[in-house]
């Protein structure tokens, strides 16, 4: 099957920052992404879990974005401007995608 090179960027970020991140992505011309819920996690600022939470402050989300390799840098810069002062992690993986016209 015909596939095309792409990058898969995964950003774990605090839930209150979600809208800011996605707005920054859209501004940088990245209009395709998917947001996954996160149940809990652990990092330098300790361990946490979603169970019983009512505050949106406590949670995180994972934003997954498939993007053409040549647009990666612009996207990372937009994302980094948002996550810079905040906790969370950004990872990039090589990927292939079907239907390149969608990216």
């Amino acid at each position: 099957m015909q596939t095309h090179q792409a990058k898969r960027v995964e950003i774990m970020i605090e839930a209150p920052m979600e809208r800011r991140l996605t707005e920054a992505l859209v501004e940088a011309g990245v209009t395709g992404f998917t947001v996954l819920p996160v149940r809990g996690g652990s990092g330098r600022s300790g361990q946490w879990s979603r169970a019983g939470q009512i505050s949106p402050a406590g949670g995180m989300v994972a934003v997954v974005c498939l993007i053409k390799p040549e647009r990666l840098d612009a996207m990372l810069e937009a994302a980094f401007a948002v996550v810079e002062r905040h906790i969370g992690v950004v990872s990039i993986t090589d990927a292939e995608v079907l239907r390149a016209e969608r990216f």
Binding site: R20, S45, G52
Partner: protein
């Protein structure tokens, strides 16, 4: 009760996030609606506007006192201290709901518009906290988006919205949906407090370690300072005993929902475990167990039942 909570905390019992959020929406809706229906029934009191203004002023002023106090008794950084101060200027709506329910239990009536006062006291403290930092040249980012998020945050909108609906539909509307609003209220509040207890209890062990004795002292005495200010303000406004008790509870309580979310956006450098531990794990249980009875006793003694 606390021993029970401790046992609970060691268990895997937990209420799903969606259900907890559903319960909090129910509680806000019910309390807002009842407050609005109360205002509709008793007419708009002349002190309504004065109370709203006083609430806003209190919310602006409290963080400045809290900031000076917390800096005096702890070694928290300016950023952390300002974040903490913001929490104590704002309010905990669950503490307010619990106080309302204790008042209702004892047959003490209060002004229905205290719900609107509660809503008015949520946001100004955040501004004070950010001003405390910007004064020191440290740039806290405060964009218009954040303003909108704070002013239109879910709980404020729900409170104000259901208050407005209550005012419009009045006692008739209340009678209509009473089986939904009034009857299950105690039970839902009970389950919700259980959930809060579970969450608080679960984190307590780890969290207390990170706090010094000074912080604990602050968390347990700042509510009394806030309550004293609330008492004075309430007397100036000429509120009923119930209204004074509620204003004391509002001033004494610390936010652990709206303000933490705002702080994560505007002040990411502030350590959440400091402000959350203080507001959720010290001040909240303090108010629930010791504070509210004191505030009610003082208010009825001073105003006269």
């Amino acid at each position: 009760m606390l021993g029970l909570l401790a046992a609970l905390a060691r268990s895997d019992l937990s209420i799903p996030e969606a259900v907890a959020k559903g319960m909090s929406i129910y509680l806000l809706f019910a309390i807002g609606f009842k407050g609005g229906a109360g205002v509709a029934a008793h007419g708009v009191d002349a002190t309504l506007v004065a109370s709203l203004v006083a609430g806003v002023v209190l919310s602006f002023a409290l963080p400045i006192i809290a900031f000076a106090y917390v800096r005096a008794v702890t070694r928290l950084s300016v950023v952390d201290a300002a974040a903490v101060a913001g929490h104590y200027g704002s309010i905990s709506i669950v503490t307010f709901v619990a106080a309302t329910s204790v008042l209702a239990d004892r047959g003490i009536s209060s002004e229905g518009y205290m719900v609107a006062v509660a809503a008015a006291m949520e946001a100004p403290a955040i501004l004070s906290a950010l001003w405390l930092i910007s004064r020191r040249g440290d740039g806290a980012k405060m964009d218009s988006d954040l303003w909108r998020e704070i002013l239109f945050n879910g709980s404020i909108v729900l409170l104000v919205g259901s208050f407005a609906i209550g005012v419009i539909t009045g006692e008739d509307g209340l009678a209509d949906i009473a089986p939904f609003i009034v009857s299950p209220f105690q039970g839902v509040l009970c389950l919700f407090l259980l959930d809060m207890g579970l969450i608080a209890g679960r984190g307590l062990k780890n969290s207390l370690g990170t706090l010094g004795a000074g912080s604990v002292l602050f968390g347990a005495t700042m509510p009394l300072i806030g309550a004293a200010l609330g008492l004075g303000t309430g007397l100036l406004l000429g509120l009923s005993a119930g209204g004074v008790a509620l204003l004391m509870a509002l001033a004494a309580s610390a936010s652990y929902i709206a303000v933490p979310a705002a702080m994560r956006v505007a002040l990411p450098e502030a350590n959440p475990s400091v402000y959350l531990t203080l507001s959720l794990w010290i001040t909240f249980p303090f108010n629930l167990t010791i504070g509210i009875p004191i505030y009610i006793a003082v208010a009825t003694a001073v105003v006269g039942g």
